[in-house]
Subunit: 237 residues, 2 copies
């Protein structure tokens, strides 16, 4: 049987033989949501990096690239925008390349680099991701980017949402996928309400990005699937 | 507020500043269940080791020690018994010291060794553990021993059972504790049925230890709490 496994934090990636899987990287608040939205809105490519300095290095060579970085919820001086998905509208990103600073997401991508293929998931492209995975006939590893290598609920819930769509087919779920799916079933009728009890939600509220959070829980706004090609995320097609 | 955190696998222990916590080590199938049962039944001490060879080294110095080790569900030749909790009855262990081979449990104990205190939890001593934790006014870290550093459901469910008893007091739960508690609430009316869907359960069934599994899910058979004292687990008291 084909495997559907969930890696609950990047710290657990070394336990998996990543080259045997298609990896879906998940960082719901907010990196992978912004990436899916941006690619769905016609961005030519999004390049995820972990440090502000790397962003600047790209711009030296490619002054036309847009730069996205935040520190403590504020756009970094001299950058085009922060990490809010609302920055990735058609008007702003269509036809452009964006260099995006995201610590947890980049960490997860880097550790998954030997996978058969790496795609990006979020609630915004949930069903498109699931349908594509069903067609691949490959083992699937859902990698939750977490928060500084810690487990978090929002990424796990998305993993559970994928498991919900894949579980009655050919896939065999591991314990983490079973747990994620059960949590998703508890939460699915009110994802926002369910996540309000988490510590992360408290932290994000303090950053004043509650509108972003609500947006990140929209399901199936796009059918675009970002796929890693070298160091660039581009539209799978 | 006092912290109630859950470490879902030993691979995540380095993310916690263990010296700030009382640690509860959890390895439901079957090491920590057997340890609680043995200490409850009057064993003088239980010494957890990871290798059969370490067991033998103890016996050279202390020929009176009982040795417990299994390979593939069979008692290792020359050993007194395996890892079944049914080996830890009063008749067999009262007044004795047992050297117990347990890979996952020993791994978790070793990585937790700088904790303020390390105790052993299982469904058998659930309420005793919770009552004692409530009296300590210290941060609590529930360490799931897992399976070769992987997440497993049975240890997580026990962590959720502890969270259930502690959550409405002074403790603040992290995301992993919230998730574990929600899973426990789903499973609590039929722990055995819930766990039947896991891959681990399948593996254990093949070992022919279903009776052990059912026993490991008995709640509050004992009020004994094993505590680590040097390399020995003894009765807290």
């Amino acid at each position: 049987m084909t495997k559907l496994h969930v890696c609950l934090t990047p710290a657990l990636i070394p336990l998996f033989k990543v080259e045997d899987y298609i990896v879906v990287v998940i960082d719901i608040f907010r990196a992978t949501t912004s990436i899916c939205y941006g690619i769905g809105n016609g961005a030519e490519a999004i390049i995820p990096v972990s440090q502000v300095e790397e962003c600047l290095a790209y711009q030296e060579i490619h002054p036309e690239y847009l730069l996205a970085a935040e520190r403590n919820g504020e756009v970094v001086d001299g950058f085009n925008f922060g990490n809010s998905p609302f920055s990735y509208t058609k008007e702003k990103v269509s036809g452009k390349t964006v260099v995006l600073t995201t610590t947890n997401g980049t960490h997860a991508l880097h550790l998954s680099r030997s996978a058969k293929r790496i795609i990006i998931g979020s609630f915004l492209n949930l069903t498109a991701v699931c349908n594509w995975l069903k067609d691949q006939h490959e083992n699937v590893l859902l990698v939750c980017a977490g928060w500084k290598n810690n487990f978090n609920l929002e990424d796990t819930l998305f993993a559970g949402a994928v498991a919900e769509q894949l579980k009655n087919g050919v896939f065999r779920l591991d314990d983490a996928a079973l747990a994620a799916n059960d949590l998703y079933q508890l939460a699915k009728d009110d994802l926002d309400g369910y996540l309000k009890k988490t510590s992360h939600s408290e932290r994000l509220k303090q950053l004043g990005i509650e509108k972003d959070i609500a947006f990140c829980l929209n399901v199936d706004l796009t059918t675009a699937i970002p796929v890693l090609n070298g160091e660039r995320l581009v539209k799978l097609g």
